[in-house]
């Protein structure tokens, strides 16, 4: 238990102390879509955030449950093999816009509504 708590502190420390402002900004989803496509996010994560594959899995982003702070950090200083998107390539506003776009995506549908996914 003690170890788990310590690990959580270590993992969240950069978020708590390095982030400029972690209140989720209101983004422009329409512009976010443009930036998402123009900056090549879709090349790995899919046009509708369905996820994909690079050298490893590129996570699903549609309606991501990732908090904005973690999302921001992943863009600026990514873990795994994702390319970094520093501020000269992606402004703070554009980060917020992309996040808004991802939240606006339809995401999942009930599997039961799609018969061919229920045939095996």
């Amino acid at each position: 238990m003690k170890k788990t708590a310590l690990a959580l502190i270590v993992m969240t420390a950069p978020v708590l102390f390095l982030a400029p402002s972690w209140a989720q900004p209101k983004g422009d989803a329409a512009n976010g879509r443009k930036v998402y496509l123009a900056d090549g996010c879709y090349q790995c994560h899919g046009r509708v955030g369905q996820g994909g594959l690079m050298t490893g899995p590129a996570p699903i982003l549609a309606q991501t449950k990732m908090p904005f702070a973690a999302f921001h950090r992943q863009l600026r200083n990514p873990i795994n093999d994702m390319p970094p998107y520093p501020e000269n390539l992606l402004s703070e506003k554009e980060v917020a816009d992309i996040y808004a776009f991802l939240q606006s995506l339809p995401g999942r549908r009930p599997v039961k509504d799609i018969p061919i996914l229920n045939n095996n």
């Binding site: 090549g40 790995c44 509708v48 369905q50 594959l53 795994n80 000269n88 999942r108 045939n119």
Partner: protein
């Protein structure tokens, strides 16, 4: 008519004489005569000055090529793939005439890379090679990429390279360019064995030896360089030549003490994991792996080098390999080629690094025949992974002993513990499948079409057939998530060497093997891969090989495009130029038109998800009647 057996060059020259001296009817050598000159001076004796002796015969009643065909028939080849070339014309002619073009039947390919890649795919379905004939220098260089893939993938490939050994028997300039003193040297790094027979008896013995070597695990490519004179010249004494029977090969089985130790570790372990890669050579391999896993009630990770374990089996945990490996206290690899990669998470950053997934102290075992045949130059064997027990033996052949030893050690207490573990794993497996189905719904109606939608639609059309996914060029993960692979022939593994151009032709070779079993062959075909060997489609039509090519057309060499993005952002330069040199647009390729031009039924490009199913239905109707078809689908990149 006088018959006299002569050498190939003599035959050529004699034919030239005959063409000058006769018009029709039986060909008999005649000295060429020029008409008398008007001055009355004696005409020049052209024959004496420029042509070979007049008594050279025109025909022969036997040839080395005929004998070679007898050898190939003894071995039992069903097919020979080839792009025609003069250095094996003697053998070519013997196959289609002396051999009756049956067993082996000659198949025409428009590029040697196609001929070899077809052999690669064929071998993985049929568990035996077909033969491939190539020219020894230019042809073999064309073939080399496909040969490298087959070597990395441990597939048996049987190459026959026509060569002209004797310089005095070469005539034209190109015949010198098409000859080498050691043709195999350019591919020897990825051959198991090769030879250049000096006589027909030598050919016979080496041909049988080559087959035995290719088919002894680890399987691999072999090559015979066969002299043109040897193929074409008459046989002095056929009765003196012998052809040995093909030996049955017993693959190497693991040392019994080492296998017993492995069994004991597995039975005692709380969290054992089995990883299978190029394991199942036959259905027996899959069946035995199921038996072992069910006895232990332990998770299996099928790395996909072959179809090793049913995807819907509750002990299949390939989709959560990281999680199960992190828990493992014993990991048993079965024909795992790259053990290091299997148990490490890798990161492609400025400073590349790796992190071992398995716990410190986890016992690592590998059973693989690859240990019996190491090569040094090409590095496909991967990074060195220290392991506790390395058993140099064939995985499939060792499974019966391992199962027997495991069963002997399982007592009532362990059986109870195994059953509890099995229930937990079953529950996790079902949750994983449901999660994947839910993931597949994202972007269900999007255009460009998602790969999940494409794969779900394809499976819906073929699931009632005895289907075989003979290719999946760019590792699309959805079939293994959404389809039930329950036989070894449902999937044949990937290229081995990751050499682009494999998928289109290897798929056709596998479809050729599937044809006689009445299976429905389908392949997921990348656009970049198809453009390496588009002529494969002509071979499919020409030889009536039923296969459905479903294009995953993302109009790019997309893996490279993603790498370009990573490189650009590493420099803070943005991704605007990442498409330069990594996309296949402007103009977009009309793959349906291309396929139609070569006699293949085709539809597309399809951009709307709702149009996929009707197009697949129409195309599959063609395939079920025994013909190839292609459906071009414009997809999201990944």
């Amino acid at each position: 008519m006088k018959k006299r057996d002569i050498g190939r060059r003599g035959f050529l020259k004699g034919a030239g004489v005959a063409a000058l001296g006769t018009s029709a009817g039986p060909v008999v050598a005649q000295p060429a005569q020029a008409p008398p000159s008007s001055s009355g001076a004696p005409p020049p004796n052209i024959a004496a000055e420029t042509l070979p002796p007049a008594d050279l015969a025109q025909q022969q009643s036997s040839s080395g090529g005929d004998f070679m065909v007898d050898v190939l028939k003894t071995i039992g080849f069903d097919y020979v793939t080839q792009t025609p070339a003069s250095t094996f014309r003697g053998l070519h002619e013997a196959i289609v005439n002396h051999g009756g073009n049956k067993a082996p039947e000659l198949l025409s390919c428009v590029h040697e890379e196609i001929a070899v890649a077809m052999a690669h795919g064929y071998a993985k379905i049929e568990n035996k090679p077909l033969a491939v004939m190539v020219q020894s220098t230019v042809g073999l260089q064309h073939a080399s990429m496909a040969l490298y893939n087959a070597f990395c993938d441990q597939a048996p490939i049987y190459m026959i390279a026509g060569n002209l050994v004797d310089t005095t028997k070469r005539l034209f300039g190109f015949e010198f360019a098409h000859a080498a003193i050691d043709p195999a040297v350019i591919v020897r790094d990825f051959l198991k064995w090769d030879d250049q027979p000096g006589s027909l008896q030598h050919f016979s013995e080496s041909a049988i030896r080559a087959y035995k070597i290719a088919m002894t695990p680890p399987y691999g490519p072999v090559l015979l360089s066969v002299d043109g004179e040897l193929q074409e010249n008459p046989i002095p004494n056929r009765a003196a030549l012998t052809i040995a029977p093909v030996a049955r090969v017993a693959p190497p089985q693991g040392d019994s003490a080492a296998v017993a130790e492995t069994a004991a570790l597995l039975v005692r372990s709380e969290n054992p994991v089995i990883v299978a890669d190029r394991l199942a050579r036959t259905q027996k391999g899959m069946d035995m792996l199921v038996e072992l896993a069910e006895t232990l009630q332990c998770p299996v990770i099928d790395a996909g080098g072959r179809s090793n374990f049913p995807t819907r089996h509750p002990l299949n945990h390939s989709g959560r390999s990281g999680a199960v490996l992190a828990q493992a206290d014993v990991v048993v690899g079965l024909e795992v080629n790259d053990y290091f990669n299997t148990i490490h998470a890798l990161s492609d950053r400025i400073e590349r690094h790796s992190r071992q997934i398995t716990k410190p102290g986890a016992r690592l075992i590998n059973i693989t025949a690859r240990e019996l045949f190491p090569k040094s130059n090409n590095q496909e064997f991967g990074r060195y992974q220290p392991i506790d027990l390395s058993i140099a033996a064939d995985g499939e052949e060792t499974l019966p002993l391992l199962i027997e030893q495991v069963k002997r050690l399982v007592d009532a207490e362990r059986k109870t513990a195994f059953e509890a573990r099995g229930k937990r794993l079953e529950s996790t497996h079902h949750a994983m499948i449901e999660q994947w189905k839910s993931d597949a719904t994202i972007g269900w109606d999007a255009s460009p079409i998602t790969l999940a939608r494409l794969c779900a639609e394809l499976y819906d059309q073929i699931k009632g057939d005895d289907w075989s996914l003979v290719g999946n060029g760019i590792r699309v993960t959805w079939p293994r998530r959404l389809w039930h692979f329950d036989k070894t022939y449902r999937w044949i593994g990937s290229s081995g060497g990751a050499g682009v151009g494999y998928n289109v032709a290897a798929s056709l070779g596998a479809a050729l093997a599937n044809r006689k079993y009445g299976r429905l062959s389908v392949t997921i075909q990348g656009d970049g891969d198809l453009m390496f060997s588009p002529g494969t489609l002509w071979t499919a039509a020409h030889h009536n090989i039923p296969i459905l090519y479903v294009m995953h057309n993302n109009r790019a060499w997309h893996q490279e495009l993603m790498y370009l993005q990573a490189m650009a952002n590493r420099h803070g330069r943005g991704v605007e130029n990442a498409h330069i040199g990594s996309t296949i647009t402007d103009p977009n390729i009309d793959f349906a038109m291309m396929a139609k031009s070569m006699g293949v039924y085709a539809e597309g490009p399809i951009t709307k998800p709702g149009d996929i199913a009707p197009a697949l239905k129409r195309a599959l109707a063609v395939v079920r009647k025994g013909q190839p078809a292609l459906v071009d689908v414009i997809t999201d990149p990944r």
